[in-house]
């Protein structure tokens, strides 16, 4: 006797939905870090205070004229009021004359 196919037949929908984020370009990169001001943004986790101090040391060795704006000037970027903090960020970076940003820590 031939085997009965009990597997059925289905036409099924995609369970996802369209992404809402428009594709955005990243910022233009710098020619050099010499003489530039680099901001440090931190989520206050995973030894970022030590990591930023080491990065300052390493970057200054390569670019003696590089300046830093400490994470202390921005506060925590990953707290309960993250949305408000991030909304204020562009203006704050402008006020501080920042050219580039180092952001941590994803661990």
């Amino acid at each position: 006797m031939p085997a009965v196919n009990n597997d059925g037949y289905y036409e099924v929908f995609w369970p996802r939905s369209p992404r809402q984020a428009d594709r955005k370009p990243v910022a233009k990169r710098l020619d050099t870090l010499e003489g530039k001001t680099v901001a440090q943004l931190w989520d206050f986790l995973f030894r970022g205070d030590e990591v930023f101090a080491l990065l300052e040391e390493g970057l200054r060795a390569r670019y003696p004229g590089v300046r830093f704006v400490s994470w202390r000037d921005f506060g925590n970027t990953h707290s309960r009021d993250e949305r408000e903090v991030l909304a204020r960020l562009p203006q704050r970076l402008k006020e501080l004359g920042v050219d580039a940003v180092i952001c941590g820590m994803a661990c």
Binding site: Y9, F13, P15, F46, R47, V51, G58, V101, G104
Partner: protein, 465 residues
């Protein structure tokens, strides 16, 4: 972190995002969701949490510094974006096994067989809501996809829900989309899972289990709706393991916790829905994320004073590193959840105690020496750069956390008594409790009212006939 970087990039500031080795794939997945697939990251070798000062120094100076320079000064290749199906595209045709194989291979299912989401079944779900199927309830991070009524129905079918669960599923996704909940954090390290608390007459109408084995699978509405939550997190929010979902361990979804409102009414305690700001008798869902929890057996005594010390001890034992959410980083967002059986609740209520009285007791007695509180965060876990004295001095925490300089002073683990949550369910005739350790603002409790369709009763009756 990448959300902050994206804000900077969009404002015209080049960024470099410091990323430990184990998080590189998550960074890629998040950057696609942010609409910036080429946002640059700088490798931090290994994990900083286990490195000596010398190891950390070597890794940063020999590896990370160079990557940061590259990120900030070299033009980046444009990232690629993959073409995707349309919202209502048929993505596969075939038999049950082939459909399931396809969904599994495309990372659209959780590893268990799914119910194939066909036109007929999806439409049956849509009949149980008055909302337009194209309505968007919000944009769900990190994938930034539209939370549509249609997508809720599709995932509800897949999870094995019944069509009449649809109003609950809609309320759940409304809660997921609420910024106060913080769904974007659902892939974080502790691998916390959401607990759904259900209240209202719908518990009885749809046959939820709220007695013995209340948190066990085996009851269709409790189980399938819990599964729906996880499927929606995968498919619409985008939390796929090894990508956006970086749970270190994780666990399977939690089944829905339905409160025993029969007992609550009998002893005069308000249900969780009232604590969340709704009226008694409203059908509601409350969601919160919990890092874990455990059962506490044989809560003995015939008075609150005899029973509660054991429960205080249980709450303290389950909240250690989670104190992170009590300090300024978490802005007092820690909300421990204590689940007690009807027998315990009845015994406490018999002495004239309300739920609020129990919360007050927990607040006043679940306390730690200040030195121990600080040790969890400053020495043992995140190595924070704070102390309770400074937090209070700067007005970031209530004064009770620094009433003196005595390191042995006792401090609470939450900011106020109302931060404790209490639910009553489980085997009515046993004296056990369950403590859920909360994940703070990375899954803050949010409640939503369940909107039933206009002809709800008739539709339910039609199902039964």
């Amino acid at each position: 972190m990448l959300r902050a970087s994206a804000v900077c990039e969009e404002a015209g500031y080049p960024t470099s995002s410091l990323t430990c080795e184990g998080f590189l794939r998550q960074a890629v997945a998040i950057s696609v969701g942010l609409g910036m697939p080429n946002i640059p990251v700088a490798l931090v070798p290994g994990h900083v949490g286990t490195q000596s000062k010398d190891e950390l120094r070597r890794n940063i100076l020999e590896v990370t510094v160079e990557r940061v320079i590259e990120n900030l000064t070299r033009t980046l290749a444009a990232g690629s974006g993959n073409a995707e199906p349309g919202a209502r595209d048929i993505i596969f045709k075939g038999g049950f096994k082939a459909v399931n194989r396809h969904f599994y291979e495309k990372e659209l299912s959780d590893g268990l067989p799914i119910v194939p989401p066909t036109q007929e079944d999806v439409e049956a779900f849509l009949r149980f809501t008055d909302r337009d199927s194209n309505e968007v309830l919000g944009t769900i991070l990190p994938d930034q996809r539209a939370a549509t009524i249609w997508s809720i129905a599709v995932n509800g079918v897949m999870a094995g829900c019944r069509p009449e669960y649809m109003p609950i599923l809609v309320a759940l996704v409304e809660a997921m989309a609420d910024p106060a909940y913080g769904v974007e954090h659902s892939g974080n390290t502790p691998g916390s899972d959401t607990l759904i608390i259900l209240n209202g007459p719908i518990i009885g109408q749809l046959g939820f289990n709220y007695t013995q084995g209340a948190l066990r699978d085996g009851f269709m509405p409790n189980t399938s709706i819990g599964r729906f939550w996880r499927l929606y997190l995968r498919n619409v929010a985008g939390f796929l393991p090894r990508k956006n979902d970086k749970a270190t361990f994780g666990n399977t979804w939690r089944v829905v916790l339905a409160e025993n409102e029969d007992v609550l009414k009998k002893i005069g305690w308000e249900p969780n829905s009232v604590e969340m700001g709704f009226r008694a008798g409203d059908n509601t869902v409350t969601i919160g994320r919990y890092t874990g929890g455990g059962a506490f057996s044989s809560v003995s005594g015939s008075t609150p004073e005899q029973m509660l010390p054991y429960l205080v001890d249980a709450v303290l034992k389950y909240h250690t590193w989670q104190l992170l959410f009590t300090v300024s980083v978490g802005n007092g967002s820690l909300r421990p959840l204590l689940v007690i059986t009807p027998l315990i609740a009845e015994t406490i209520a018999k002495a004239g105690w309300s739920k609020a009285d129990v919360k007050r007791y927990l607040y006043e007695h679940a306390r730690l020496p200040a030195w121990e509180f600080e040790r969890y965060l400053r020495d043992w876990t995140i190595r924070g750069v704070w102390n309770l004295e400074e937090e209070v001095r700067l007005g970031r925490m209530p004064n009770i956390f620094y009433e003196s300089g005595d390191p042995n002073r006792m401090v609470p683990i939450v900011w106020k008594p109302e931060d404790y949550m209490i639910a009553v369910t489980g085997d009515p005739l046993r004296n056990n409790a369950y403590v859920f350790a909360h994940n703070g603002f990375l899954g803050y409790p949010v409640g939503k009212r369940i909107e039933l369709s206009r002809d709800w009763q008739q539709k339910l009756a039609a199902l039964e006939s």
